[in-house]
């Protein structure tokens, strides 16, 4: 007889009772998991302030009401979406022994309905769940984040919908929390882009950085220059038509997600050149134009910065782009501008001499970027660029936002230090190149990378606007995009939203697993973090139809066996387990 051991045997029973919805398992029996399992209904990313009372309320899906003091399409549509996210599956019962939460009342203190999300949007909110529930936000964007949190607080325990009395005050740590997709190396079908936007909203990410074209293909259909995609897309089936782009922007807007397109120049433009070869620099070899040198340059590559045609073309093109994409920012790319082709071309050499650039090709790059960024400014847009021009010594406009992408997880700091000390705003992506596969998965790295963890002045740190994951598509398409992205991107999402102090990997593991299972339930194929399972629903199981009728559990007791059934499963399981432990372990 060992009373202490008996006590420890009760731990699994406790777990059954709380019914958390993710059940990750040890990798090997010798390697038990560390950290604390969170209560069910734990939000991801973790709110700034989160107080949970043990008091439970229940929810009746049929009677539950969302109400708002502000008339707004974003709010109305969000209510529809979240109603099905929270209640959209069968077998949900009201817990009869608990008070019922009648609804969620939404208060938008600005009383206005926003149009498009922006860098300066207010995403803060507060959420109080007592005998009634109130979600208060200044702007509709904070409402969206708060509604997501609310939906995560609700959980089902053996079919009973429960929520703890809770008080949350929340605000994101960084205003820019992005997810980047590359739709040029492989085409990503529209439904997958939409699923990814859904998944972003479940993780409070707010920027879709759409690296829409590149060397390999030009799927964006331009009305001004339709030949770009006619010639440059993989096929007629591999296109983003104006309608499709508008559809994506609207889909994102309703979720409080900005769509920032990237038309990368002057490099990464081979697909532009299929229709408009004159845009590209003719590379020379052995005294001849249009000759490639393997691994140095192609026959034609990188935009020709010396021709007026280039700027005239780009002027018209970006005018269209600035009208198609409503966000105040465009991503202008400007990474990896390899100079070999420029070196080889005698016209460019001559131009350099005329301009007094000597042999400093970065001055040519600077010349190009100044002209193009000036053009964007004139279109009343702001811009984001990759770090390369700044690193090459080019002076770009000082209100540019610079995306740090080099250095990987271990060596990004020096780039951040150098760029932010020059006075530019920055976004970190180096830590979050999700396309680089590792075994086992590297979510802890993604989770622990902190964009402010570099040496720099307060002013430099204040200029860090956030970060983004990148999923370059050399080895990614519709078959594997979502599984490669999630839940890795969730790890980055919490880093970018939650306070810096929320950083305990071991404990986050369980909460992240809960989030993964929640995402599965919502239709995102989120891959596993470790062995284990997700309660009664897994990917691949038949999807439930929502129930439309009664939410009362059948309770008629005709004989003992039906009476037993009227006890909730977990109570029964609990009794069985207690008995078996008493019999087995304590004798």
């Amino acid at each position: 007889m060992e009373p202490f051991k008996c006590h420890s045997c009760l731990v699994p029973i406790f777990l059954v009772i709380v019914g958390c919805h993710g059940y990750i398992n040890y990798l090997a029996i010798r390697l038990p998991l560390q950290g604390e399992r969170p209560p069910p209904g734990s939000p991801w990313p973790q709110p700034k302030q989160w107080q949970q009372s043990p008091d439970l309320l229940t929810i009746d899906p049929i009677k539950f009401q969302f109400t708002s003091d502000t008339d707004c399409d974003i709010i109305t549509k969000a209510f529809e979406r979240y109603h099905s996210l929270i209640f959209g599956y069968k077998g949900l019962w009201v817990a009869e022994d608990k008070p019922t939460l009648p609804g969620l009342e939404v208060v938008i203190s600005s009383k206005t309905c926003g149009k498009y999300p922006s860098l300066s949007m207010d995403e803060s909110y507060s959420l109080v769940i007592n005998n009634t529930a109130t979600l208060t936000a200044t702007e509709v964007w904070g409402f969206l984040r708060g509604l997501e949190t609310f939906s995560q607080l609700v959980y089902d325990n053996q079919g009973e919908l429960l929520i703890n009395k809770t008080s949350i005050t929340d605000v994101p740590r960084f205003p820019y929390r992005g997810s980047h997709l590359d739709t040029a190396r492989h085409y990503i079908p529209i439904p997958v882009l939409k699923q990814n936007l859904d998944a972003m909203s479940y993780n409070k990410l707010n920027v879709f950085h759409w690296h829409i074209v590149d060397d390999q293909s030009f799927p964006f259909v331009s009305k001004t220059f339709p030949k770009l995609s006619e010639k440059g897309a993989y096929s007629k089936l591999h296109l983003y038509t104006p309608e499709a782009v508008a559809d994506i922007i609207e889909y994102a807007r309703l979720r409080g997600i900005r769509v920032i397109p990237e038309f990368d120049t002057p490099g990464h433009t081979a697909s532009w050149g299929i229709a408009y070869q004159e845009l590209l620099t003719t590379c020379w070899a052995n005294g001849k134009p249009g000759v490639a040198i393997y691994n140095k340059h192609a026959e034609h590559e990188i935009l020709d910065p010396t021709k007026n045609f280039t700027y005239e073309f780009l002027g018209q093109f970006f005018k269209e782009v600035s009208e198609v994409f409503p966000d105040e920012y465009l991503h202008m790319g400007m990474d990896e501008g390899y100079y070999y082709c420029w070196f080889s071309n005698p016209n460019i050499t001559e131009f350099m001499t005329e301009q007094g650039f000597g042999k400093d090709y970065f001055k040519l790059e600077q010349y190009y970027s100044e002209r193009v960024l000036g053009m964007i400014s004139d279109l009343d847009k702001k811009y984001i660029i990759w770090q390369d021009p700044v690193e090459n010594g080019a002076q770009v406009r000082n209100d540019s936002i610079v995306t740090i992408w080099k250095g990987g997880y271990s060596d990004w700091r020096r780039y951040m230090e150098s760029v932010s000390s020059k006075g530019y705003y920055t976004i970190l992506s180096s830590c979050w190149y999700l396309n680089y596969l590792t075994y086992p998965p590297a979510w802890r790295q993604f989770y622990s990378c902190d964009p402010l963890d570099f040496t720099g002045s307060q002013a430099a740190k204040d200029r860090v606007l956030g970060g983004q994951t990148c999923l370059w598509a050399e080895f990614v398409d519709g078959t594997n995009l979502l599984t490669r992205m999630w839940p890795s991107a969730s790890a980055a999402a919490e880093r970018l939203w939650s306070p810096a102090e929320v950083r305990d990997n071991d404990t986050a593991y369980f909460r992240l697993d809960q989030q993964r299972c929640r995402m599965l339930r919502r239709g995102i194929p989120t891959e596993p973090l470790l062995g284990g399972y997700c309660g009664d629903y897994e990917w691949g199981f038949e999807k439930d139809e929502p129930q439309l009728e009664s939410t009362e559990r059948p309770t008629t007791c005709i004989n003992t066996s039906t009476c037993l059934l009227s006890i909730s499963h977990y109570q029964l399981l609990c009794v069985v387990l207690v008995l078996s432990y008493l019999l087995n372990s304590c004798k």
Partner: protein, 503 residues
């Protein structure tokens, strides 16, 4: 790539409206496997999706058309019946001839027809004018190895029946012929036993949703049989059995700290006779549930620490006069092998069983999985056992980039050994352990990487040039995508004419 393949530029039109399969002397040579295969392959040949079904070519009679194929004539060498099941000895060879409007597929056994139909479905393609065509072709084909397996682990994560079936389809497209089902392990016990229901009742992740019922299993076996795929279940012991202990705590060794049990359990307890009584009944059931001649008995990664701590096992060791705990493992495996052998079954085992010196039946198939496989293959074949290679093909280990070339380049004969030793190599297996894999990512992680292994195991040893294989590999991936499998891109940027559509 078939063993012998010659194709000419003359093409034959294949029109979906008139095309049919026919069987020579159908009265004797007809059975479910054939009829079901014909049903499956018609849509596979002519396109899965309505928008691609534009094979009523308006531009028939192209230059260089040598005829219209209205039927594929199937000739079987011996009568078939509905109890035929594939085995390690199955004859999968076939001959396929397409010549001037005539198409003939002949094979000795059903299983050759299945392989040949797959090949036929791959050589029919859409011409630039839209019609389906097939070039004049002569193929004589047979597998290099008889055992070409895919192992799935359904214990670390549960894999739904739907995905298992879909994976069997993908295997067929790659001419795999063994589904090695690592059905239970430490984390969970999803096999629902008819005689010992408590095993899954307590040991499954969820006793209702995360189990394979007897009828699920029969459905999977039949589905596999129709595709010429054997289902070899693995019930790994004496290690990897934590989940068995949930339902039958007395089966496992209680680990001790000092003089008292510490609440942990180790491998199966070999000192208790009840263990073997149970195992006999259990494996009798398994033997009936899985009709294949072979059962995989595992036997890998046994840790001795718990046995060493347990006084009953200590007493057992003393009583048996053992000097070493590996002898305990040897004893256990010997008992188990004798039980299963006594049921008339053959067994497949992981290499440790042989490394520990157990005596096994002559027809045992030993699976080599550890690093240093070359020496191990040499050792096991020297002892005269049939051998499988798995070491090179642990596809759960993912890495960035085109890693399929590594799997493609692994040659099972590359070990020191005589010709006779090499003849003992039965083939190999692709393993997908389930630590980080479930229904969300299983298919995209397995395919098309497993296709590289499939060619290594089917085609001639000389077919090994990566550069030559690459365009075929890319085409094959798109062919899989076109048939609805989420086979991931693995050769850098590009596209498939038909991209994957999420279900």
């Amino acid at each position: 790539m078939p063993q012998s393949y010659s194709s000419q530029s003359m093409t034959n039109n294949v029109d979906a409206a008139t095309f049919k399969f026919s069987v020579v002397n159908e009265a004797i040579f007809s059975c479910t496997v054939l009829q079901e295969a014909f049903k499956r392959y018609e849509p596979l040949i002519f396109g899965r999706r309505p928008e691609t079904l534009y094979f009523h070519s308006q531009a028939r009679r192209n230059v260089g058309v040598s005829g219209d194929i209205d039927e594929l004539v199937v000739q079987l060498g011996k009568p078939c019946n509905d109890v035929d099941a594939p085995s390690l000895q199955s004859d999968e060879s076939y001959k396929l001839t397409v010549q001037n409007g005539q198409a003939m597929l002949s094979a000795n056994e059903l299983w050759g027809v299945i392989r040949g139909l797959e090949t036929f479905s791959q050589i029919v393609y859409q011409s630039p004018t839209g019609g389906m065509v097939v070039n004049n072709t002569v193929i004589s084909d047979f597998p290099r190895f008889n055992h070409r397996g895919v192992m799935l682990d359904t214990s670390r994560h549960y894999v739904s029946k739907k995905t298992i079936l879909k994976n069997l389809d993908a295997m067929t497209q790659n001419k795999y012929n063994v589904f090695h089902w690592h059905i239970v392990d430490d984390p969970s016990f999803p096999y629902q036993s008819a005689n010992f229901p408590e095993l899954s009742q307590k040991g499954a992740y969820d006793p209702e949703t995360h189990v394979y019922t007897q009828s699920d299993i029969q459905e999977i076996i039949e589905y596999a049989r129709l595709r010429g795929i054997r289902v070899v279940p693995e019930f790994d012991s004496p290690g990897h059995t934590q989940s068995w202990g949930k339902g039958r705590p007395d089966l496992l060794t209680k680990c001790y700290s000092g003089s008292s049990p510490n609440g942990q359990f180790g491998p199966v307890d070999p000192s208790n006779n009840a263990t073997f009584t149970f195992l006999k009944q259990f494996f009798m059931e398994v033997g009936n549930a899985f009709p294949d001649k072979y059962i995989h008995l595992g036997g890998d990664e046994v840790s001795f620490a718990c046995w060493q701590s347990n006084p009953d096992v200590q007493a057992f060791v003393k009583r048996m006069g053992y000097s070493d705990y590996s002898q305990v493992e040897q004893y256990y495996m010997q008992q188990l092998l004798d039980i299963v052998g006594g049921l008339g079954k053959g067994y497949q085992i992981w290499q440790e069983v042989i490394d520990n010196g157990a005596k096994v039946q002559a027809d045992t198939v030993v699976e080599v999985w550890k690093a240093g496989w070359e020496d191990e293959m040499n050792k096991v074949t020297k002892l005269g056992y049939k051998t499988l290679l798995a070491t090179c093909w642990y596809l759960n280990y993912i890495s960035y980039g085109s890693d399929w070339t590594k799997y493609y380049g692994c040659e099972p004969y590359n070990f020191p050994g005589t010709e006779d030793q090499k003849k003992l190599i039965q083939g190999g297996e692709t393993c997908m352990w389930g630590e980080y894999v479930d229904d969300t990512n299983l298919m995209s992680r397995l395919w098309p990487r497993a296709s590289a292994v499939a060619e290594r195991l089917w085609s001639a040893q000389s077919v090994s040039n990566v550069q030559e294989a690459t365009p075929r590999f890319i085409e094959h991936r798109c062919r899989m995508v076109g048939r609805g499998f989420p086979a991931e891109p693995i050769n850098g940027p590009g596209f498939c004419r038909e991209e994957y559509i999420v279900d």
